[in-house]
């Protein structure tokens, strides 16, 4: 890779991370303003993981995500307007207003869905990989989940299964150290996700998940191994969730100074500092960040003006046989 190629990758990572951050900051503001009903789980501080991983995926690769999935969707290429309208419950949302933040999906870009159940996306990704292979596709599946998911059965089942059938799956554990409101270390025995993964026959590597370039490089290696027929791999990315579990959690349970210390290592500022040190113009980086903010604010304004779903839509897309209308 030439220096120019490398700079282009870093700029792509920076742009994706700025868009994820801007989307979630805009969504938080909209939630506070009462425009977004229901729970909202943001991933502010974790943007380097989806940005770095998805830069290595093809459009026909599939991903599954979790309840904190805006970044995964955006990094995979999901349409912003459809996402924002989904958060606001509008007719033009990707899910026609039936899913909301926790169930964002955009099948047109291979984003097979966020998930309201921890570890829920793991078996789905494993099966997607098995189905793709059956269809003769060379695409792979990638599955994002948190450190909390490794204590659920589907994690153990899914990794064993993927290794057994040598399926093209990249498992990505975003380890932000907290499972909802509980420190992961207080509920997780043993040496952690890498050891569990390797015990199940899935080679795993750890990476500083707040270093976008490192995530990109590690994911690139693992994806190449998977595409080469090596079977599944796991990427363990350590990161930090700068805000609470949901938009209404002030995270008062954090240790004093913990969040301030983490802010020093947050991924967007880090990549920005690196780019500046490598000679990138500050004005260019500012322009990218400002454009992301403008894009998301425009999406929010457009979503606010967009129509609500017709109540008749509530009856649609349940099932073909035995669909009900009216009182039943």
């Amino acid at each position: 890779m030439t220096a120019g190629d490398n700079r282009a990758r870093l700029m792509a990572l920076y742009g994706t991370m700025c868009r994820i951050r801007a989307f979630e900051e805009t969504a938080l503001a909209a939630h506070r303003a009462g425009e977004i009903p229901g729970p909202l789980h943001v991933s502010i501080g974790q943007e380097a993981v989806p940005a770095g991983v998805c830069l290595n995926l093809r459009p026909d690769d599939r991903i599954t995500s979790n309840h904190r999935g805006h970044g995964h969707a955006l990094a995979k290429g999901a349409g912003v307007q459809g996402m924002m309208e989904e958060l606001l419950g509008r007719a033009g949302g990707h899910c026609r207003g039936k899913g909301g933040s926790m169930h964002i999906a955009d099948f047109s870009v291979g984003m097979l869905g966020a998930n309201g159940v921890v570890a829920g996306g793991i078996p789905i990704a494993v099966g997607a990989a098995q189905g793709l292979r059956l269809l003769g596709s060379s695409a792979i599946a990638c599955c994002f989940f948190g450190d909390g998911a490794i204590n659920r059965g589907p994690f153990l089942e899914g990794l064993n299964w993927a290794a057994l059938f040598r399926l093209p799956v990249l498992f990505v554990c975003e380890d932000n150290g907290v499972a909802a409101f509980t420190r992961a270390e207080s509920v997780t025995a043993g040496p952690g996700v890498v050891a569990r993964s390797e015990a199940l026959g899935v080679p795993a590597v750890s990476v500083d998940g707040n270093d976008a370039a490192a995530v990109d490089a590690a994911a690139g290696r693992l994806v190449a191994e998977i595409r080469g027929g090596g079977g599944p791999r796991l990427l363990h990315a350590t990161t930090f969730r700068l805000l609470g579990h949901t938009s209404t959690d002030p995270a008062a349970w954090r240790r004093p100074g913990e969040v301030d210390a983490a802010r020093e290592k947050e991924p967007i500022a880090r990549l920005r500092a690196r780019l500046l040190a490598e000679g990138e113009a500050e004005a260019t980086l500012d322009r990218i960040a400002a454009a992301a903010q403008a894009e998301m604010q425009a999406a929010r304004a457009a979503a606010l003006a967009a129509p609500w779903p017709d109540p008749a839509v509530a009856w649609e897309d349940v099932q073909d046989s035995g669909a009900v209308r009216g009182a039943l």
Binding site: H94, K98, H103, P123, A128, L134, N160, Q319
Partner: protein
């Protein structure tokens, strides 16, 4: 036409559909060796190990991987071995498969068939004999199929495999040896149409799945005693043939629902409620339900027999209904 067992009818239906559509495949424990009941016998040799996948005993992932594979365009048959094990895969079934089309605004079609051989399996006790089909009728998004004959099993399986809806297919495992005629070319049998198992005018007996032969035997006994029972086998519980049941009850004015499941909260309650709502309570001279008492299925033969509905109990319930 050929006379085959119910389990062979099911095998022939899946065989036909796997030959017809390369996207159809089967996953589950022991399916490559033919399945627990021989319902996939010979499949590995014909279709290979990419389409006949023996899996670990990992019910969550059997169910969830089936879903994931459906989302990329294949049409999996998810074999649960026996029904009771689906309890280990309820998140994947109820939270994921049943919801995904709706929750994602129609982007997904989870075209899976979940096969769950259910019901009392002689002397297999409480964790291998359950009949909980009514739970699943409560879940929007799924079709619930409960056949009782070889021909219906075959026809409904063909429909289930071709359906874009997730279909929960309750194989009546105690009836697997039962013989019946099945056509060489198996046509899809539409969901939601009851089978008229016997014509009658004095009362309507609604039933489904493994208890159906006992009900038909009871109806023959009743006929010998001058009681003419119309027997309807619902074949699917969602959608279910309300029209056929209401037409029959409007004529007989007496309704007995018989199922192997526990009576309390069983689908019989739904049948009685809907018929009453549609016809009005004045149209009914008597209603009754017959199922298991609200007790787990016991092991020892005399205990199992004491609780299980059978032809004699159906006859007694029908006679009581006519006296009432």
């Amino acid at each position: 036409m050929a006379e085959v067992t119910l389990v062979e009818a099911a095998r022939l239906a899946v065989l036909q559909e796997m030959r017809r559509d390369k996207r159809v495949w089967v996953l589950g424990e022991d399916v490559a060796r033919g399945g627990l009941f021989g319902q996939y016998r010979g499949f590995l040799e014909e279709f290979g190990d990419q389409r006949v996948v023996s899996t670990p005993i990992s019910e969550s992932t059997i169910m969830g991987a089936g879903l994931g594979a459906a989302l990329v365009g294949t049409r999996p048959i998810i074999e649960m071995r026996i029904f009771d094990f689906v309890m280990c895969a309820m998140d994947e079934l109820v939270n994921q498969i049943a919801k995904i089309r709706y929750m994602f605004g129609g982007q997904a079609r989870p075209a899976v068939v979940v096969r769950m051989p259910h019901g009392i399996w002689r002397n297999s006790a409480a964790q291998h004999s359950q009949t909980l089909e009514s739970w699943f009728t409560h879940i929007p998004g799924v079709v619930v199929a409960v056949p009782s004959t070889p021909a219906d099993t075959a026809g409904l399986l063909v429909s289930a495999i071709r359906s874009d809806d997730p279909v929960l297919f309750f194989d009546p495992k105690n009836l697997f040896p039962m013989k019946g005629e099945v056509p060489v070319e198996i046509a899809p049998l539409p969901f939601g149409r009851a089978r008229l198992a016997r014509e009658g005018r004095d009362l309507t007996i609604v039933t489904w799945s493994a208890i159906t032969p006992a009900v038909e035997e009871a109806a023959a006994t009743l006929a010998g005693r001058g009681i003419s029972a119309q027997v309807l086998d619902l074949r699917t519980l969602w959608p279910w043939d309300e029209d056929a049941v209401c037409r029959s009850v409007a004529r007989t004015s007496r309704l007995l629902v018989v199922h192997e499941a526990v009576t309390t909260g069983g689908f019989g309650a739904e049948v009685v409620a809907r018929v009453t709502e549609r016809l009005g309570p004045g149209a009914l001279r008597g209603v009754a339900r017959l199922g298991q008492p609200r007790v787990p299925v016991p092991f020892a033969p005399p205990l199992e027999d004491a609780l299980k509905p059978d032809a004699a109990k159906v006859v007694a319930a029908a006679e009581a209904l006519l006296r009432g």
